[in-house]
Amino acid sequence: MLHVELTIQGLINGSMYALMAVGLTLVYGLLRILHVAHAGLYTLGAYIAVLIANATGSLALGAAVAIPVVGLAGMIVYRLLYEPILHRPPYVALIASIGLFIVMEESYRLIFGPYGETFNAPYLAERVSVGPIGAKAAEVAMVAGAIVLLGVLAFLSKRTRFGIAWRATVTDPAMARAFGVDTIAVRYANFFIASALAASAAVLVAVLNNLVEPTMGSVPSYKTLAIIVLGGLGNVAGTLVAALALGVIEAFGTIYIGHLLDRDAIAFLFLVLVLMIRPQGLFAAR
C-alpha cells in the first residue's frame, strides 16, 4: 500500500518536473543552450499568478495572465540575450543564463520582499480519494495539468503545420529554410511555448505549496538540467520518461535511503549511474 502511495507521489512530483523540463529540452533541441534562466521565468509566472489572484480573487485570471506574459518574456530573453551569442561556444550562453537567473531571483527579492507571497484564500487544499488512495486536489490538478498541456504539445508537434516546421528546424535548420520554413519564427514560438509551460508549472506549484518565494526556482534550475540530460538532451519523449522516473526514484529514495543521502544526491546518483551505462542518456536524441 505504502509503495503504491509512494509511486503516486513520485508521479505527481515527476509531472511537475516534466512540465519544467519539456520546455528546457525544447530550447536545447533547437539552440543547444542550457537555459538555466528558465527557472527564473517559472518564478515570474508564480508571482504574476499569486499577485493577480490576490488582487482580483480569481486564480483563473492570474493563470490566464501569467502564462502568456511569461511566454512573451521568454521570447524577449531569446531576442535580447541568446540570439546575439548563439554563435559563441556553449558555455557563454550557460554563464549568461546563470547571470540572468541570479538577476531575476534578486529582483524578485528586492521588489516583492524575501518572505514570499501566499494566496489570501488557499486553493484546492481539500483531499480527493478513490477508495484507500488519496491526494490533495492540487496534486491531482498537477498531474491533470501535465497530461493536458503535454498532450496539446504532442498534438501541435505531430498534427500541425507549425509542428512540422518546428521538427524540421530541429533536425536540419538549413534544409528547413530551403523548404521555406521561417526558422526565426520557429525559435520565437519555441521560447514562447517553453516559457508558457514553465509558467503553467509555476501556477500549479504555487497552489500546491501556497507559497511563492524569490528562490522557488533554485531547485528546478539544476534538477531539470539533470532530467533533460537523462532524457537524452533534446528528446521530448525521453525527457518525459526521465522526469517521471526521477520523481519516483526520489520518492522511494528519500524514504528508504534518506539517512544516507539527501534528495538531490539520490537524484544525481541515479543520473551518474545511468550516464556511466548509457552516455547519451536513457534515450538518444533522435
Binding site: 551569442i85 549568461a96 546563470i98 529582483s107 539520490i266
Partner: protein, 283 residues
C-alpha cells in the same frame, strides 16, 4: 595591511588557485565542469581531519591534494565516457553527490561540519604569504603547461577531440592528466581554505560554489591564465567593494555575468585582446 586586508588577500589567493585549477580542465582541455567545488571540499575535509588528529599543516595539505586528485582521476575516467554537455551535468551530479554524502557522515561532523580546526600557526601574514606563493606557483605552472608541448595537445583536445585523436594525440592521457592536476590543486586550495576559516560545513562546497568558480574562469577569459587570475581576484573582492550596497550585491554579480557574456563573451582576456587589436588598427 591589517588583518581585514590580509584575510581578503588570503581568500582571493585561494580563489585564484581554484579558478586556475579549473582552467586546466575547462580552459586548456575543454572539459566543462560544474562540480569543481567537490574537489575543493574533498581537500578541505581531508586536510582538516588530519590536522585535527595532530598532523602538521604541510603533510595534511599535501594529503588533501592527493585525495582530491584520486577523486579527480575517477571523474576523469568518467569524462572519457561522457562528453560535452553530458559531462557538464555529470560533474554537477558529482558535486551534489559529494555534499549529499558528506552531510550524512557523522565522522565528518555531518551537518555541523568540522569546527575547531587547529590554528595554522602562521599568523595572518604567514597564511597570506603561503597562499599567495602557492597561487603564484599555480599560475606559473599554468603558464608552463600552456607553453610546452602538453599545452598544445590540451588545446587541440579543447578545440576538437576527434581531430586531436586523429592526429595521434593520446586524448585519454591528457584528459586524465588535466583532471588529476586540476583537482589536486583544487584539493590543495581546499586545505588552505579549511585552515583559513577553521570551520567547514558541507554547504560551503555546494553547487553555487562550483558555479562561482566557473564564472571566474569564464569572466576572466577561458584558457587565459592572466585573465582567469584577474577574474578570480575581481569576483572575490567584488562583494567587499560593494559592501555599501549590501542588498544589491548579488544583483550586481548576476548582472556582471550577464553583461560580460552578452557583450564580451571572451571575458576580460578576450575583451582586452580585442581592444588592443582595435587600438593597433587605429594607429
Amino acid at each position: 595591511m591589517g588583518s581585514y586586508e590580509l584575510s581578503l588577500v588570503t581568500l582571493a589567493a585561494i580563489y585564484v588557485m581554484l579558478a586556475l585549477s579549473l582552467n586546466l580542465i575547462t580552459g586548456f582541455c575543454g572539459q566543462i565542469s560544474l562540480g569543481h567545488a567537490a574537489f575543493f571540499g574533498a581537500g578541505a575535509y581531508a586536510a582538516a581531519l588530519l590536522t585535527k588528529s595532530g598532523w602538521p599543516l604541510a603533510p595534511a595539505l599535501v594529503s588533501g591534494a592527493v585525495l582530491a586528485a584520486a577523486f579527480g582521476f575517477v571523474v576523469g575516467l568518467a569524462s572519457l565516457r561522457v562528453r560535452h554537455d553530458f559531462l557538464a551535468i555529470t560533474t554537477m551530479g558529482v558535486g551534489f553527490l559529494f555534499i549529499g554524502f558528506v552531510r550524512k557522515q557523522q565522522g565528518l561532523g555531518g551537518e555541523l561540519g568540522l569546527s575547531g580546526i587547529p590554528d595554522h600557526g602562521l599568523g595572518p601574514w604567514g597564511l597570506a604569504a603561503l597562499t599567495v606563493t602557492l597561487a603564484a606557483a599555480t599560475a606559473a605552472l599554468s603558464l608552463h603547461i600552456r607553453r610546452v608541448w602538453a599545452g598544445q595537445a590540451f588545446a587541440a583536445i579543447a578545440d576538437d577531440e576527434d581531430t586531436a585523436r586523429a592526429l595521434g594525440i593520446d586524448v585519454m592521457r591528457y584528459k586524465l592528466t588535466a583532471f588529476v592536476l586540476g583537482t589536486a590543486l583544487a584539493g590543495l586550495a581546499g586545505g588552505l581554505f579549511a585552515h583559513f576559516t577553521r570551520f567547514i560545513i558541507p554547504d560551503a562546497f555546494g553547487f553555487t560554489v562550483s558555479i562561482s568558480i566557473l564564472a571566474m574562469v569564464i569572466i576572466g577569459g577561458i584558457g587565459s591564465t592572466w585573465g582567469v587570475l584577474a577574474g578570480a581576484v575581481i569576483l572575490t573582492l567584488m562583494p567587499e567593494l560593494f559592501r555599501f550596497i549590501n542588498d544589491y550585491k548579488l544583483l550586481l554579480y548576476g548582472g556582471l555575468l550577464l553583461l560580460v557574456m552578452r557583450f564580451a563573451p571572451g571575458g576580460l582576456a578576450g575583451g582586452i585582446a580585442a581592444l588592443t587589436a582595435r587600438l593597433r588598427g587605429a594607429t
